[in-house]
Subunit: 307 residues, 2 copies
């Protein structure tokens, strides 16, 4: 069974509206007089992080990637549950976990630790938040005529990972912080939630994630590649648009509005005239190059960008 088959089968089970067809960053559930926002993401050794990577960074990224999903819904975090597999350098994991939970004032509510021999180690996190605006934004609300915006540059995580791979520490010119310690844009997401028509966080690459909004909304996302801010050399622009792990927010908004947070306009939502969910500089993207990174089978000891 491929991952696509498996998710299709899950989608068949997840027929409650709260699951949003498993096609959004989070589940959204009305409980009493509140709207809960829930997400669960995992990290696996050798797939989502380099073997031998500082476990404090792994803890940070595990929490940050989930909080970023809450940010995309404009949710305020209320807590996390951790699924942990014991192994090497657990003290560093605890240190990184303590740091990020303190940084965003998010309580650890519970979880589970297991001892299992073998590899890879896998860590899961469930993050729970409450919506600050109801209904929380989805991927499916982009309207023809809307402007497309991004909160900041992409490509920084790519450069950071390459610095790490090259063995360059923070003292060697290129800083790896953007890869190691991504920032979940919680305040930005909360400010944007009332005004956007669609929003998501960019975890798998700008172009792939933009095409997902296009598909979910039944529109064409027309992106001007030169308008996209990048944190990489100009000759790496095409890579930066496809690389994941930056956790910027991508959103659409009526063209006459100005975003309440710092953001850069990178395109326009168009009616789908048969071109599909994405145009780059007016063209349908070439089929011979992936738009971003999906979950992949990878041999251990090889890292892959966020899947």
């Amino acid at each position: 069974m491929t991952e696509a088959d498996f998710i299709a089968a899950l989608r068949h089970i997840a027929d409650t509206p709260a699951a949003r067809g498993l096609a959004d960053d989070c589940a959204v559930l009305d409980i009493g007089n509140e709207t809960l926002v829930l997400t669960h993401d995992s990290l696996a050794e050798g797939v989502h992080y380099l073997l031998g990577h500082d476990m404090a960074d792994v803890a940070w990224k595990l929490v940050a990637s989930n909080l970023s999903d809450l940010a995309a819904k404009g949710a305020k975090p209320v807590g996390v549950l951790l699924g942990f597999m014991l192994g090497d350098n657990d003290t560093r994991f605890i240190e990184g976990l303590t740091e990020i939970l303190a940084a965003y004032d998010v309580p650890l509510l519970g979880g589970d630790t297991i001892s299992a021999p073998g590899s890879p180690r896998v860590f899961g996190l469930t993050a729970l938040g409450t919506a600050t605006h109801s209904p929380p934004p989805s991927r499916s609300g982009a309207q023809p005529g809307d402007a497309i915006w991004i909160t900041g540059p992409v490509g920084g995580a790519m450069m950071g990972l390459e610095a790490l791979r090259a063995g360059a520490g923070s003292g060697a010119g290129i800083d790896s912080t953007a890869y190691r310690r991504p920032i979940p844009l919680l305040a930005e997401g909360q400010a944007l939630a009332p005004v956007v028509t669609a929003m998501m966080d960019i975890s798998d690459g700008l172009l792939l994630d933009a095409s997902r909004i296009g598909t979910a909304s039944g529109v064409t996302m027309a992106i001007e590649s030169k308008a996209v801010p990048i944190a990489a050399p100009e000759d790496r622009r095409a890579d930066a648009l496809r690389w994941g792990d930056d956790y910027q927010l991508l959103f659409t908004m009526p063209a006459e509005l100005t975003p309440p947070v710092s953001a850069v306009r990178i395109g326009t939502v168009e009616r789908d005239h048969g071109d599909g969910p994405l145009l780059i500089d007016g063209r349908v993207p070439a089929a011979d190059r992936p738009l971003g990174y999906r979950h992949q089978h990878l041999a251990p000891r090889h890292d892959a960008p966020q899947g």
Copy 2:
């Protein structure tokens, strides 16, 4: 870092009252006008289930063990999030998942699938419920003079596992259903929540779990071993009292009350006169034999009772 060290470090982080000191079956969180009950448990191949075991049973048990934690709080399930690692026999996993979610009318809200090479496979589940009685029962409310009750026999899962190990299918005399398809006692938990002083589900063995209530409540749980109903031959009574995976509810209640569900009285809560959290037939349990099963490092291809 041992598991005990790791959990002690987590406890230091989890200082919100909702986490209940990581010493309860669930986190309990007031959200708006509702009380949420949250739990996360994992299953690992070779540790929590036999390698080669029917993946439909694995899915069933993953969900059942989490719903059982909700049952112990008298919660009504509102949904689950799945952390899934792709591998062999995923179709059977989907079938088992579909079965149990339909059986208890629980929606799948979301989750995450990953592809990672290697073993063991690990599956995580977060279950979310709403309290039907507030505050939900904890482990810490048992009072001297209370009666100790159990909802049904222990030892059935032990016999089922042994039947499976012996290669005996359901046609060979001993049925393995109790091990393969445990029943979360949701209706019983909801009926009991308003009247119990303490409650938990027995996942790690009656004696170990009873001692946990004793410790959390600062009392001595005095159990009459002969009174405990067992689903095993009489000469296996001592094992049945220590084996996990039966998911009966263990609870304490003022002695003058009668439980609203079918249950058997197995002892009395006593003031702790220095004997510690547990007495069996009036004696402190011998230190040379474990009271139940804890998380353990185990070689793959060896199954262990629920840790």
